[in-house]
């Protein structure tokens, strides 16, 4: 990395220690101007190469099966090259008839260990944080809640002490895959939609990055690629789905897809399988015998923020 590059990086805001008022003073302004002049002469080669195929890539719904196959083959090639591998696969396994996925989470059991958050990052090829910002993308946020309150505003997000702590309970929150999803309504270009099996997905090659969906989501479930996503070659998961965990681009939105690459092949989501306490239950809401359906029928379940009327496919319950 050359010197000019570092210079520019110094100026990038670091979210964990956000730029405070008054800090953007004259000095940093002059520094910035200097950096700009320097930067303009030799801009770093970091930007993704322009590709006409990608520029003209159609919306997932507009592509014929043949075009989809061609696009996915091209993407596999691109990903193999980018991550120095040969085993990338991108597929578009569709929804099964008679399946509508649902999730139930047992708040009596969750201990707040955040294993789900990390398994999710590994499975779904999230951005691992750039050098400039501590901005690893995570789809699951575990809230440490006050016993006796369901008010998320009293929750703590950045706890580092040993869990579970006395007087607390833990509530992991991720995309609720709403049946009346505000994010889907918000999108000006139909880059996000709900699949017939209930999964809300994003077409990463169609999203224009306006972030209106992120503003609309009551569960803070949508995450944006503020920089070019970085995944170390050895940590990449090469088994991917077009609408799921394939590597994303700078400037597009992404979110939990219930691990669409896994669940459409009959597996459970990664967060479900890693959970050491068995708090997480996943299954087909239309199947009366499924675990998740039995929980909904028999347990005292509740919906987070029921008052916003989004009709989620995600339920919480206490034993």
């Amino acid at each position: 990395m050359n010197k000019k590059m570092n210079f520019v990086q110094d100026l990038l805001p670091k979210p964990k220690a956000r730029v405070k008022e008054g800090e953007v003073g004259r000095r940093s302004f002059i520094k910035l101007l200097t950096a700009l002049t320097a930067g303009a002469i030799a801009m770093p080669e970091k930007s993704e190469a322009f590709s006409l195929d990608e520029f003209l890539q159609k919306h997932f719904h507009q592509m014929s099966d043949e075009e989809k196959q061609k696009t996915m083959a091209r993407l596999e090639g691109e990903y193999n090259e980018k991550y120095s591998r040969e085993d990338f696969s991108v597929d578009d396994t569709g929804p099964q008839a008679g399946v509508k996925y649902g999730y139930a989470l047992n708040l009596s059991k969750c201990i707040g260990c955040r294993k789900c958050t990390h398994a999710c990052v590994d499975e779904n090829n999230q951005h691992r944080g750039s050098e400039e910002r501590e901005d690893q993308v995570e789809y699951i946020r575990v809230l440490e809640m006050e016993k006796g309150s369901l008010d998320v505003e009293k929750s703590v997000h950045d706890y580092t002490h040993e869990v579970p702590a006395a007087g607390k309970y833990y509530m992991p929150v991720q995309c609720h895959h709403c049946n009346d999803a505000p994010c889907v309504k918000a999108c000006p270009v139909e880059a996000t939609w709900q699949e017939p099996d209930g999964i809300v997905v994003v077409d990463y090659n169609w999203c224009i990055g306006c972030r209106y969906c992120a503003a609309a989501c009551p569960y803070w479930a949508r995450k944006f690629n503020w920089t070019a996503p970085r995944i170390p070659d050895e940590e990449v998961n090469p088994d991917t789905h077009y609408l799921g965990n394939r590597p994303r681009y700078k400037g597009v939105m992404e979110k939990c897809t219930f691990c669409i690459n896994r669940v459409r092949k009959g597996l459970n989501p990664a967060c479900h399988d890693i959970c050491p306490t068995g708090s997480r239950k996943f299954g087909n809401l239309l199947d009366k015998e499924s675990v998740v359906r039995r929980i909904i029928d028999q347990k005292r379940i509740f919906i987070l923020k029921e008052e916003v009327g989004t009709d989620p496919s995600f339920y919480y319950f206490f034993d």
Binding site: H59, A191, G209
Partner: protein, 404 residues
């Protein structure tokens, strides 16, 4: 056709010639644009990570400026209504100028939206039939439509009138009057739709309030005409543009009434939030008093409210009206700044704080964001300046057909 091309040629030549002060001003704006261009280039290369935004506060300075400027653009209608509908000759002369301001403002709106996009290269995804335009479901789709429509209306009406004036002909009513009526309704719609963009989000209690749209209109009809008055004062002072004495007085009245309504709506909002003191008050509490030790916006909002109140008192007292050009316009400048703060620090930012999951992360725009924003203001003011210069040229007969 040849006539029209000569008109365009002469107009453009007129736009870029003028006194030293005028050309100096244009040069200054071009410098701003160049700075903004560099900053935007950095953003394009590194991504929106060069802004102060993050997943917690995912809209910032760009969308704040956008929201404010939609109001300025909408406000041109305040001159159109009496000018065209009531054939108020005094105001009519100024209408053209108001519409020029509107054009500059809308161009800035569009640029701020584009600057905020993560993938500006994919803008064509919005254009049917190649793209997919989520109309009528997405409010953002509505906003794109009404803003571009308003831009076209405001290009057509003054463009046609000026061309006719240049030719020394009477304009044909049917070629502009219908569009004038449409643009009146349209102006209200651009700010209403922009308000609906926020009020339609049930997951953001701070925005999800019916009072937002009326408050947008009230504050726009305060800051917008205030901005136009400043423009008129400059033109009145520095050119031979024939301007009626009563336009500015009329607009000051509009500013005052809209400003008072805005304050009334603010009080209604504050009362509802804090008297009920429900869980929904968190954003408002953060904005006005700070929350759990986080209070970055508190000084901003109180500055805004103080400036609002002081400026309106000054307008009510009418003591400054007959004073010098600087003194009499200070209250107007204060109102513009106050309402700009109100739209950004007072509306957009706190809507994200705390997040829907109760996390508090504060936001301040990064230097790069400020530079891009200044650059866009440079573009808008540049467009306004050359268009206004053009209107003045035609009205004063500086640009006219060559004698046969």
């Amino acid at each position: 056709m040849v006539d029209y091309l000569t008109f365009v040629f002469k107009s453009v030549r007129g736009m870029f010639s003028g006194g030293v002060r005028y050309r100096g001003w244009l040069a200054f704006l071009m410098a701003l644009m160049a700075m903004g261009g560099f900053a935007y280039y950095r953003q394009a290369v590194h991504g929106l990570g060069v802004s102060g935004m993050g997943d917690q506060v995912s809209w910032g300075l760009y969308i704040a400026n956008f929201t404010f400027l939609v109001g300025v653009a909408a406000a041109a209608v305040m001159m159109v209504i009496p000018g065209y509908l009531y054939h108020n000759k005094e105001v009519k002369g100024g209408v053209l100028l108001g519409e020029m301001v509107a054009i500059g403002a809308i161009v800035m709106c569009l640029l701020f939206v584009v600057a905020d996009l993560g993938r500006p290269d994919r803008m064509w995804h919005m254009i049917p039939p190649f793209g997919k335009f989520n109309f009528p479901v997405s409010m953002l789709a509505w906003d794109v439509l009404v803003l571009n429509g308003y831009l076209l209306l405001n290009l057509h009406v003054p463009g046609y009138l000026l061309y006719k004036k240049y030719k020394g002909e009477e304009p044909a009513k049917w070629l502009y009057l219908p569009f004038v009526y449409i643009s009146i309704v349209w102006a209200i719609s651009i700010h209403t739709v922009t308000a609906f963009l926020y009020t339609g989000l049930a997951g953001r209690p701070y925005w999800n309030a019916a009072i937002l749209a009326p408050r947008f209109i009230a504050s726009a009809f305060c800051a917008g005409p205030a901005f136009i008055i400043l423009v008129l004062e400059i033109i009145k002072g520095w050119t031979r543009f024939p301007m009626g004495e009563r336009i500015i007085g009329f607009l000051r009245g509009v500013v005052l009434i809209a400003g008072l309504i805005n304050i009334f709506l603010l009080i209604s909002e504050i009362f509802t939030e804090f008297y009920a003191d429900s869980a929904h008050v968190a954003s408002a509490r953060y904005l006005f008093f700070g929350l759990h030790g986080h209070n970055a916006l508190v000084p901003w909002i109180w500055t805004s409210i103080s400036m609002n109140v002081l400026a309106l008192l000054a307008l009510i007292s009418r003591k400054f009206e007959s004073r010098g050009v600087i003194v009499r316009n200070i209250p107007l400048l204060m109102l513009i700044v106050a309402i700009w703060i109100e739209k950004g620090m007072g509306l957009i930012f706190p809507g994200f704080i705390p997040t829907p999951l109760g996390e508090i992360v504060e936001y301040m725009p990064s230097a790069n964001e400020w530079m891009v924003s200044l650059g866009i203001w440079g573009v808008g003011l540049f467009i306004m300046s050359i268009l206004l210069k053009h209107a003045v040229d035609i009205e004063t007969g500086e640009v006219k057909p060559s004698a046969k």
